[in-house]
Subunit: 117 residues, 2 copies
Amino acid sequence: MLKHDPDLDRVFQALADPTRRAIVERLVRGPASVSQLAEPLPMSLAAVVQHLQVLEGSGLVRSEKVGRVRTCRVEPAVLRRTEEWFAGQRTLWERRLERLGELLADETEEKEEKEEK
Amino acid sequence: MLKHDPDLDRVFQALADPTRRAIVERLVRGPASVSQLAEPLPMSLAAVVQHLQVLEGSGLVRSEKVGRVRTCRVEPAVLRRTEEWFAGQRTLWERRLERLGELLADETEEKEEKEEK
DNA sequence: CTAATACTTAAGCATCTCCTTGACTATTGA
DNA sequence: TCAATAGTCAAGGAGATGCTTAAGTATTAG
């Protein structure tokens, strides 16, 4: 218990920033250079590069430089793995509801048995 | 474009902290009081209360006080809505792959047509 | 009534985050 | 070659974050 997943830390931390989420939302539509990513963003290129470093640190984005252009793309596996964390939580929640439902059904049954006497 | 969702900001920000994620993971299994949540956590009760404020601010958790006990529970709708963000990104990614596949198929077709001449 | 319980609030502090500017390197088009 | 392009690196600053301790308020068990 209490084991925390530093990968998830970094992914959520990365996605907590609206600029970085915008970058991810851009990149799922296809790869882009640093300047292309920076173009619609209201900040310096250096700031965008820093955001990209955070995204790369989280594994959400990887990039490679060819000539003077760095091309960035999303890593869908990391996106999917994170989605699965939510699915896991939902499963636990739903299981609890089931148990609660069963319990309620049992109680009703007991009541009915009593009333039949 | 570039409209950022402050709700998602807060949710991801909330989930970026391992302590807060642990609290959510505890709460999907069922409601708990503040003290119960704090018990396994290596920090002061006040710190846990602060984490809970962040979680409530994000909508992930809601709580009500009865007597001197505050009972906390997850808000599954917010969890689900966040999961859907990922599903949306995945959809965009997959659509891009499809288009890429079609393009590739078209090119192959064109090549074959040329070769047939 | 009194003491213990279950928070709540506030102040303070070290650290991290997000951005800036300025100087720099490497590549490429004319 | 020389200037523009594309990105990199480092220092610094305002504000946010994640704790702490200390002092407070209700609520409840005895």
